[in-house]
Symmetry: C2
Subunit: 241 residues, 2 copies
């Protein structure tokens, strides 16, 4: 799981908030949540998730018996906050929508990855669609589409996630560092690999440079375009073709 | 200038329409227009632009003295159609917005590139921002951001435009072939290089394969991530960090 930290409420109010949260119960369950969308809603949801853990509620991220129920529980928390705030936000045309990614593994189950929609419903990643994205997803999707399959080795997936986020940062100011990255190994029930890459981190600079060189090389290696030679004889065709 | 040909009115109504039009007056002026957005509006605008040429109106793409005035004239045509249709479209929440790219050269001027907004106002490309995009722009922007500068040779720019469109086609079903591409050389006052690449065109298959190989190589060459080793000691930190 990887996330940037940029939030904005218009270009004149840009700030930094983490969007990746480790809510694991080590040795028993690994739970990572990423957020996108309205910050007051996502913070509210996270606070309530943490409060239920701390208050040792019957239902919490640390007690629910399977990931499907965890996804439903997070969806319900999101609906709770929306019931409180949504009509007030709508009065000023403020978007209250929020997406969540939920990844992890509960003992007795396989590792799972869910995307929880603003409406509180959710979908699960499958072998055919092995990655899910939320937030500013388009810039970084081509890299993922061309490299990630269900069988891609874990370390390669991590690099690819970083490249995808870096591409997005380069093309869109609404995405920015630090980047948070965690890597989870099946049946470890603990998040052993974490990384926070701040602005100017040498690793980011290194992969960015390498990537830019590769892109340029690739595109220099491309065969020349075989133009269909046109001449003014065709000027009758006002529309091309 | 390059454009795909996919239009859709929802996933159950996908069809093919050209979005790149050569309206040049050979030996005197080169004028290429690309469109995105509501098809009835963009077709209406194109029809009116052609009609003014055919009727030898005082103001047309073939008579206006400079590209700035041409951009304003196209913006005004777009406003005309919107005045006719917009309130009817809005009744059914149909988006009437339409963007245009205008590129070319009129004798006596330097070549110019404009983006005309749905509101009829427009901006011009500059040495700092040498390319403009309309429509489904995000997937293809990272490749352009990393390769195109004001001084990139023309043939390289053409390849890069193809790669950018191909990336977008791979990641989004709302973009599809045929791809239309034209290349204009300053002071030629004629479009001498045109290309239409249909579904399954060998060149597209070739560059797609080459590009995918390069992306994979680049990303295999990336240095390993230097993980900050975390252990369960840090479990107190419910939020990462």
């Amino acid at each position: 799981m990887a996330a940037d930290s940029r939030t904005n409420a218009g270009v004149d109010y840009i700030s930094s908030y983490k969007k990746l949260f480790d809510l694991s119960l080590p040795e028993e369950r690994a739970i990572i949540i990423c957020t996108s969308g309205n910050l007051s809603v996502s913070q509210g949801v996270l606070t309530r998730l943490n409060r239920d853990i701390q208050n040792q509620e019957e239902k919490s991220l640390h007690t629910l018996g399977n990931m499907y129920d965890v996804a439903q529980y997070i969806g319900n928390k999101s609906r709770e906050i929306q019931e409180l705030d949504r009509q007030w936000l709508e009065k000023d045309n403020i978007d209250s929508r929020c997406n969540f990614l939920l990844a992890g593994q509960i003992k007795g189950e396989a590792p799972q990855l869910y995307l929880i929609y603003p409406q509180g419903n959710f979908i699960q990643a499958t072998p055919e669609t092995p990655f899910l994205q939320i937030g500013e997803t388009k810039y970084g999707k081509p890299i993922l589409d061309r490299t990630i399959t269900y069988n891609t080795p874990l370390e390669d997936v991590a690099k690819c996630a970083l490249l995808s986020l870096d591409s997005t940062m380069k093309s869109n100011i609404s995405v920015g560092p630090p980047i948070n990255l965690v890597m989870y190994e099946t049946d470890s029930f603990d998040i052993r690999h974490k990384l926070e890459l701040r602005l100017g981190a040498p690793y980011i600079a290194k992969i960015r440079k390498l990537w830019e060189q590769s892109v340029r090389q690739a595109f220099e290696a491309m065969p020349d375009i075989e133009w269909k030679q046109e001449s003014s004889e065709l000027e009758e065709d006002v529309l091309i073709d």
